[in-house]
Symmetry: C2
């Protein structure tokens, strides 16, 4: 057996540099675990002249992808270039050349994961992508191996660090969404165009990947219903806080009787929920298994070295398989058929904030409308705003179907006494009293 395994990288940004550093710094542990040394042989870059913050003296930098993909010495290709089409073509080519692939590319895996997995299987290659979800947290392994014996019923994830940072700052500092976003941009937690984070698209991609592995079914990106946090109002966080809840952008997925529900939306989470204490840029995934009950995996969702640990752990898994002669044995194809859950089967509690006329009988009119749809209230807050002669009413419903709630909400807007429905959010768990 060879005593050295060569790795090729596609891309040399912050994560790629982290991979090189980690492999260089952990030679002793790698040799102990694998019985061989691991070497980064060549790296595909866009610009050969660019200054790198990592030592590349013994590494071939190249602008020709074939130098990596067609090099017979390279057994494992690590894709950290990002983007969709080019990365996909490179990975497919790597599989054709019988190379194992580790990718950190959530956009690509969310969109084309099943097709890539298929190509891997056909070529008896390994395809790992732990780093594509929740950076340094070994959550895909947790689901695929650690909970392999259980029936996972529900996933809830804080899988986007930018939005969690913004919501945490709004909550703890009492600042507006706009100010918190600006601060996040200054600190480098948010991009100058923050759309993919704040509109929930990034979280949606991760939920599609998580759902596929947790439920062994073909979750497509378009199955994920998405609402972001753009323009969320501080008042709703503050009322939530008063009622025992904290606002988080939650990726939610459940699967039972072949019926699937996956969405990403701002959610008022009971302060006693394990996810409620996940602050700032940290990520966590809460997994509810039929037998195991509540588990949670917590850690950094991004960053050069945390993401690199997930990638190198995947490289180690692939090398172990390679040395044992058992590559290409992933049992993670979609297996169960799926249907999207219709709104009458989607259950939830809801928070509503509205302005109504400040007159007798208003609340009774509103509550009758909800009761007629079999929705009862769990908590109510009513504050008269004397200056404007209106009342601000906040209530949280008991659990109901999404269909009934949507229906009640429509009718609510038509009521004469209701001036404006300011906001409504899903609620998870019971408030701490």
């Amino acid at each position: 057996m060879e005593n050295k395994v060569s790795v090729g990288l596609l891309g040399l940004g912050v994560v790629g540099s982290g991979v090189i550093k980690l492999i260089e710094n952990h030679q002793e542990k790698l040799a102990h675990q694998l019985g061989c040394s691991v070497q980064v042989k060549s790296v595909l870059v866009r610009d050969l002249e660019k200054n790198r913050d990592v030592n590349t003296n013994e590494i071939v930098l190249t602008t020709n992808p074939d130098d990596v993909l067609n090099d017979p010495e390279i057994d494992i290709v690590v894709e950290v270039m990002g983007g969709i089409d080019e990365a996909k073509q490179h990975i497919l080519k790597a599989f054709s050349a019988k190379k194992h692939v580790v990718s950190a590319n959530k956009d690509l895996v969310a969109l084309h994961g099943p097709e890539l997995q298929d190509a891997a299987n056909r070529n008896k290659c390994d395809f790992y992508y732990e780093a594509s979800v929740a950076g340094g947290i070994p959550i895909l392994r947790g689901i695929v191996d650690g909970l392999s014996s259980d029936h996972i019923q529900k996933l809830m994830g804080i899988v986007n660090g930018t939005t969690n940072y913004i919501l945490t700052q709004m909550d703890s500092e009492g600042v507006s969404y706009e100010d918190a976003l600006k601060e996040a941009q200054e600190l480098g937690f948010a991009e100058s165009d923050p759309s993919s984070d704040v509109d929930g698209l990034d979280a949606a991609r991760k939920m599609a990947i998580l759902g596929r592995l947790a439920f062994s079914t073909a979750v497509d990106l378009e199955d994920v219903e998405v609402t972001g946090i753009r323009g969320i109002e501080l008042e709703d966080l503050q009322y939530g806080d008063k009622l025992g809840y904290t606002m988080k952008l939650i990726g939610y997925a459940n699967f039972d009787n072949h019926e699937l529900e996956v969405n990403v939306q701002p959610t008022l989470l009971s302060k006693s929920h394990p996810l409620a204490s996940v602050k700032n840029e940290f990520n966590a995934v809460y997994v509810y298994g039929e037998a195991v009950g509540e588990t949670m995996f917590y850690g950094p969702g991004a960053g050069s070295l945390p993401t690199a640990t997930a990638i190198v752990s995947d490289v180690i898994s692939a090398i172990k398989n390679l040395r044992l002669g058992v590559t290409g044995n992933q049992f993670i194809e979609p297996h169960f058929k799926k249907e999207l859950k219709t709104p009458d089967k989607r259950r939830g509690q809801y928070y509503v904030r509205l302005y109504a006329k400040d007159e007798a009988g208003v609340f009774s009119t509103i509550s009758t409308l909800f009761h007629e749809r079999e929705i009862s209230f769990k908590r109510i807050l009513q504050t008269p705003d004397k200056k404007h002669e209106l009342a601000e009413i906040i209530f949280i419903t008991h659990e109901t179907s999404l269909e009934n709630f949507r229906n009640a909400l429509e009718k609510l807007k038509d009521l004469d006494v209701v001036l404006e429905v300011k906001s409504y959010y899903k609620v998870e768990g019971d408030a701490v009293t």
Copy 2:
């Protein structure tokens, strides 16, 4: 390849019953993952006549261990009988018969894990024991596979549900240690003889196992310094709370430059620490890796079905290896040499509560004594108790060596003005302000 794998059980208590239920209920998922069915063929029991809460119609119950250990049809033996000597002999016999073993027995693995691993390696057998630490949480996989690429520097665990339940109740209900223990016993969270839990021995066993895997070094049970929570006073929890800390029984381990520190002790944990929100009977393990930074694995630490999920996940891993022909390839032997860290190298912050004479200059005498040993104070609380003409003084030090702290504590007791040192605890993290 066979299309059925047979499993034998040693023991049929609550966990054994959970294993049978889980395997029975998950036949479809197992077949999908493994390409074969899994069957519990026979079970070693003490009493053939006992009523079981699980269907054993198609299972052979026997009082003769050889019916399991010498049955050539059985490939995998699951040890859930508990105890040390008998269980150990059975497991060694299983390895000699080339059977793979899954054990949930933390006492046995903590005491004789390396010897058993050795026997497994000699016979090219798999030996898995995920369920021995933190029940349903896949923490051993998290460390061995998920963070395989990283250098783990520090572990902190809430790995005993009984003591966490007692401390949570004291904290939230304001009850004494004795009352909380009594309640835990009534609810079945504590045994009638609670020694092994409240004195920290159970947690120590789990820390020895965790330390071995995290640091790839031979952590022995006697390396673990243990202080339990027996007789802990509500006052210390309340003062801690006032200062921004919550009391937890923390298993702590760190390893650097081949120097090891492992202990279990009640610790005042900053409320902002991820472990601080782990309540009641839940367990969690916090892992600090050089590259990944902070991660945490949270879930149920005990219970029939959660523990059974860990066991069956191990069975699945062993069957995958079996079908791929790669059993006995665990790379988890102790590799690095170790020395125990001496007290001058063990760093920490400390909380002290004492009674002193209520007279001028007392606090200055005390603080001078600490400053002479290069220990400064971070927080101070002083309450005069007029009735008894004494002062209750509480302080938290900045980080110092254990040697300096012990030395100062000794001298403190000799001071004329100090009437009694009531308590002292290790402190982790910075208080939430």
